[in-house]
């Protein structure tokens, strides 16, 4: 592949990354921030998995292959690993946010902060 084709999935991935960065930077609610990180992860995963796509190719399953080209399976493996990791990250973030709420009584990133300077 000489170039990255400017296809619809890539546009969608870029849009997702853009929106999620907007959320992460401008939304002060910590739960929304976590949603932003989850969306960012989806955007990157979408980007990765669309890298392996080949038009008209088969799914990379070796049983009962009809013949012809197959979709790249490496990006799918990468995406899967990334999803697994993000599950752990999101679970950890959520527990921390619950604890922050318990301690400070607010979910606002500005009001709940104890440390600055």
């Amino acid at each position: 592949m000489d170039y990255i084709p400017l296809d619809f999935p890539f546009l969608a991935a870029a849009l997702l990354v853009g929106i999620s960065f907007y959320i992460i930077i401008f939304k002060k609610n910590l739960t929304k921030l976590i949603m932003g990180v989850a969306m960012l992860a989806s955007g990157v995963n979408l980007f990765l998995v669309s890298l392996g796509y080949r038009a008209g190719a088969n799914a990379p399953i070796y049983t009962d292959v009809p013949g012809g080209p197959m979709v790249m399976s490496v990006p799918q493996a990468l995406t899967l690993t990334s999803i697994v990791i993000n599950v752990a990250v999101l679970a950890l973030m959520l527990t921390m946010v619950i604890r922050i709420y318990r301690h400070t009584g607010t979910l606002d990133s500005e009001k709940s902060r104890k440390m600055k300077g």
Binding site: M1, I4, V17, I24, L30, L33, V37, L40, A41, V44, F47, L48, L51, V74, P75, L78, T81, S82, I85, N86, A88, V89, L92, M93, M96, V97, R99, I100, H103, T104, S112, R113, K114, M115, G117
Partner: protein, 522 residues
């Protein structure tokens, strides 16, 4: 022994993993057995690391292919590029692994009494061992995607450990900031890996370095990788999360987090030198590193003088010290490709920067441990409330002095030997760098004197009547690092010849790194 060394690279990663999953099971039976398991496994790993280091200094780069029919089979029959998970261990990875093994052992021993009164200790040790495995993985892997996976393992376990003391509000905040920053940085690393994979269909660093073209997409990938690892390392102006996370973690974890920060720095160097290498627009990227280094040195130290929280104060110093390393290696990168300048001062600057990593990895965890010892005994991190503690905590005070003299670059301690290497070589590149370095060094001494005065000096305060010396295991943990400082102090040239120059050469010699992967086809 030879067999052990063939599998040395993977054993160093796998044994902490095995121990990590054994600890919860053993911990249910007996706490004592669990503690012994943790310390013994980390000691064995440290032994393996040093044995492998000796092996590498004799036999050259260590390559290990997971799941192949033989460890050296990077490119199996029928393939034209390396496949499978490949570990590639050279001088630079080995240096990082040596200091990581020492610090993690010291941190584990320090933790034995530091967290003795907390709940959920088995989980603490599981996460600690996972973090050790993640760190070793980052240092040893020869594959971009595994770099991402191990980075995430280290970050997730690190974040959970920062938030370990759940009864305090600030630990949760610090852990949350750390995990958000890590998650976003890691996702950007993954994005960059995707960009590289899209063009070359490769993930192996060595094989990728052979065909990389430095196209527009490669430049974007480079910027993403570089800035993601920069924020993970904690350089100004991306350092804002750094003191928040480091000041609230248990002290043993803070000491280890310093080394994960170094590991991210190592990853940035690996990307610049081994992946892009000669294709790189070296002066530009070198100057980006140098600017980050300069800002970190100056802003870090001036913020540190200002601080009143002992751990926060030390975290800002960690940022400031990281700046020295980036300047040293950045100057080396800026003259990469120019053999004359490289021989005149580039290699010395890089050696200085890398030597400073080693020194910093010894004294900064030591200082964090003493800060943790103060917190352990007084229950506060606020320097304004402390005073007169040297009367009760003599060993802590002595170890603090060793660390202070070392970090401020007071001769004859080891901090000076690396700083003088940086000053003398960087001076020829740009004099401002050296001048900033010396000013920062003075401010470092000033601020540590201030902290020493307010915590240890003065008359015994009535509110600390019950304070006594910290438990033995904490002293041992700190003494291991102090012994490292004394060793480097007494034998600087031995350390430089045996560990630092091979590390610098491993970074400079990109061809050797590529050949070890692609040239070794049986």
């Amino acid at each position: 022994m030879a067999d052990l060394m063939t599998h040395g690279g993977i054993l160093i990663i796998a044994i902490p993993l095995l121990a990590a999953f054994l600890t919860p099971l053993v911990g249910m039976a007996s706490q004592r057995a669990r503690n012994i398991l943790v310390v013994v496994s980390l000691t064995f790993v440290a032994f393996l690391v040093f044995a492998l280091a000796r092996d590498i200094s004799i036999n050259g780069i260590h390559v290990y292919t997971l799941g192949a029919t033989s460890p050296e089979l990077t490119t199996p029959k029928g393939f034209i590029v390396p496949v499978r998970i490949i570990l590639e261990v050279d001088g630079m990875s080995m240096l990082m692994a040596m200091l990581w093994s020492i610090v993690s052992l010291a941190a584990a021993i320090f933790s034995l009494s530091h967290i003795a009164n907390e709940t959920g200790q088995s989980r603490f040790y599981t996460l600690l061992l996972l973090m050790v495995a993640g760190g070793f993985g980052m240092m040893f892997t020869g594959d971009l995607f595994n770099l991402f996976v191990f980075l995430e393992i280290a970050s997730i376990s690190g974040a959970a450990l920062i938030a370990y003391r759940t009864k305090f509000a600030d630990t949760q905040e610090g852990g949350f900031k750390y995990i958000v920053v890590s998650a976003i940085a890691s996702l950007m690393v993954l994005f960059a890996i995707g960009l590289l994979y899209a063009q070359y269909n490769l993930l192996n660093i060595g094989a990728l370095a052979e065909v990389i073209q430095y196209t527009t997409a490669d430049k974007i990938a480079l910027a993403l990788l570089l800035i993601a690892f920069t924020i993970k390392a904690g350089m100004v102006p991306l350092h804002l999360w750094f003191p928040d996370a480091y000041s609230v973690a248990p002290a043993s974890i803070t000491g280890m987090l310093v080394i994960t920060s170094h590991a991210c720095m190592y990853a940035a160097f690996r990307i610049c030198f081994s992946l892009y290498g000669t294709m790189l627009d070296a002066p530009v990227v070198g100057w980006i590193l140098i600017v980050f280094g300069l800002l970190s040195m100056f802003v870090g130290v001036t913020m540190a003088v200002f601080q009143k929280d002992v751990m926060r104060f030390m975290s800002y110093h960690a940022i400031s010290q990281l700046g020295y390393m980036w300047i040293g290696v950045g100057v080396g990168l800026a003259v990469l490709g120019n053999a004359d300048l490289m021989a005149t001062y580039g290699r010395d600057a890089m050696s200085g920067g890398i030597f400073h990593i080693l020194n910093h990895a010894m004294y900064k965890p030591l200082l964090f441990f003493t800060g943790g010892a103060l917190f352990h005994m007084t229950g506060t991190r606020d320097l304004t409330k402390m005073g007169g503690l040297a009367h009760k905590m003599k060993w802590t005070a002595i170890l603090y002095i060793i660390g202070t003299l070392s970090i401020s670059g007071i001769p004859p301690l080891n901090g000076f030997s690396s700083k003088i290497l940086i000053y003398e070589s960087v001076y020829q590149f740009n004099a401002i760098l050296t001048i900033t370095g010396i000013v920062v060094s003075i401010l470092t001494l000033a601020s540590f004197t201030k902290a020493f005065h307010s915590a240890f000096m003065g008359a015994e305060l009535p509110e600390y009547g019950k304070v006594r010396e910290v438990p033995k295991s904490m002293i041992i943990g700190m003494a291991i690092l102090a012994a490292g400082i004394v060793f480097i102090t007494l034998f600087p040239s031995l350390v430089v010849d045996w560990a630092i120059h091979p590390a610098a050469d491993a970074l400079i010699n990109q061809g050797g790194y590529i050949d070890a992967i692609t040239g070794a086809v049986p």
